[in-house]
Point group: C2
Chain length 119, copies 2
């Protein structure tokens, strides 16, 4: 139901490793990994889900409006997270040289499709 979108995100982005649809409770709805041995994408997602909740709280407190996207670049991996609604987010993991701009663009255009299927 979600796998085709999650696969497309990864296959159409240079340097993408995995994609993930997850609830803010850290429970995976679905995921797709290019190389399953490379990364436990669900572990990464559930760690980040906690932090995302806190960023959301900070943004609300600061009156910055609805949170839309978070990108984290670390030495070994870039993560881009697109918030779908108050319950779910979709995320992509990329190699450090992966195309962050492309990932952000595809997440944005595919977000509505995922939202429609979630409801």
């Amino acid at each position: 139901m979600f796998k085709d979108v999650l696969r497309e995100l990864v296959e159409r982005t240079d340097g993408a490793i995995a994609s993930l649809l997850m609830g803010f409770d850290g429970i995976t709805v679905d995921s797709y990994t290019r190389d399953p041995s490379a990364l436990n994408v669900e572990t990464v997602g559930s760690e980040y889900s906690v932090v995302l909740g806190q960023i959301k709280q900070a943004a609300t407190m600061l009156d910055l409006g609805t949170m839309q996207e978070v990108a984290v670049r670390a030495e070994n991996m870039t993560t881009v997270i697109r918030l779908l609604n108050d319950e779910y987010f979709v995320a992509m993991a990329l190699t450090p040289s992966g195309s962050l701009g492309r990932a952000r663009y595809l997440l944005r255009v595919q977000a509505q499709k995922l939202l429609d299927r979630l409801s």
Copy 2:
């Protein structure tokens, strides 16, 4: 000592509102705001400093290597944060239509200058 770099970051980026050099303890080293009435950049920075600490912890736990950069897009503001070392980060606040790519580029090229002056 830092103001010239912080001013340059803002003035050379379309849609930039403010820049900030801060410790992870939430204490401001220096800041520059294009329109001081628009935003309390130190309040935003100190809220985000808490979250940043948690993202750093998550990245370490997940073995993703050193955290380098975090970008948060909210409805009313985009924030780009570049980590300088274990103690300090530099951040920029932009309008939603501001140039995120430009901000990221300038933060990256100016990071070493700030680091040199901090030591």
